[in-house]
Symmetry: C2
Subunit: 140 residues, 2 copies
DNA sequence: CGGGATCCAATGCGATACTG
DNA sequence: CAGTATCGCATTGGATCCCG
């Protein structure tokens, strides 16, 4: 069964890895749920610089709670983006590092970071303008 | 340095010297909050194919509520990623299209989509393996 | 040190109803 | 058609305490 084109004044497609990006079976959402998560990205970024231990991560990321770090790092491990290694020392010692897959994501994360830096001022200005024109608006 | 803009929440500082993306004040989070949002990305993706009206977006995206579509599209407009145009026809007509800034994001979104396609199987497999080894785990 | 368990506040988000 | 307003559940996430 192929995709039934729900055409609503169909436009020319410029963007299609699978034909339709928003098709549920393309898996974008799954990845986005991971990549889009603030904490996940920051963990990946930190691990891009090398292996880190739990407390190192927590201190490096600043603002993340113990709970969220645990959850984040667990999910990344589950997705095969991060490897968790436990050393049977006496105070337990654990470190985390990126897998190949995880490392391949750092490109994209860096690209996103670059984009954000590049457009930071523009966006900030747009927000000011919007807020000025919509003083009573509750949109965040 | 032109504008000294007061930010909504605590003041993120200037963006210049770090160049490294793990620094909290680089503004990655702000962008990520937008890009990482599931609905935002899907709206951007849909608009990448051309201008769309409200109902068109809602039907195209499938699963989004009217509330979330409104909020999403408002935030994108506020950030200057989307332009909202109202035509004074009798049933009101509004369309949305990407700004230059918004359009420049589609590259990254496409890259993310490509990445997700490329690593989809790997991730799925990793998840299965993880779940098999941790049957009682509540990590999603 | 690394992390599980619990409690609780905030908010996210869908469903529904109403308006121009 | 394109929203706005309200309610209410579900999820998120921080804080705290405890354990190996």
């Amino acid at each position: 069964m192929s995709v039934t084109h729900t055409d609503v004044t169909a436009g020319p497609a410029e963007l299609e890895p699978c034909g339709q990006l928003d098709h549920p079976d393309c898996g974008i959402r799954e990845v986005l749920d991971r990549v889009g998560d603030k904490w996940s990205v920051l963990v990946i970024v930190e691990l891009a610089n090398g292996a880190r231990r739990f407390r190192q991560l927590q201190r490096a990321i600043d603002g993340i709670s113990q709970r969220m770090l645990t959850l984040t790092v667990r999910r990344l491990e589950r997705d095969g983006l991060v490897i968790r290694t436990v050393y049977p020392t006496v105070p337990a010692q654990v470190d985390y590092r990126l897998t190949e897959t995880g490392a391949s994501l750092t490109h994209l994360v860096k690209a996103l970071a670059d984009w954000s830096l590049e457009h930071r001022d523009t966006i900030a200005h747009a927000r000011q303008a919007y807020d000025a024109q919509h003083p009573d608006n509750e949109i965040r």
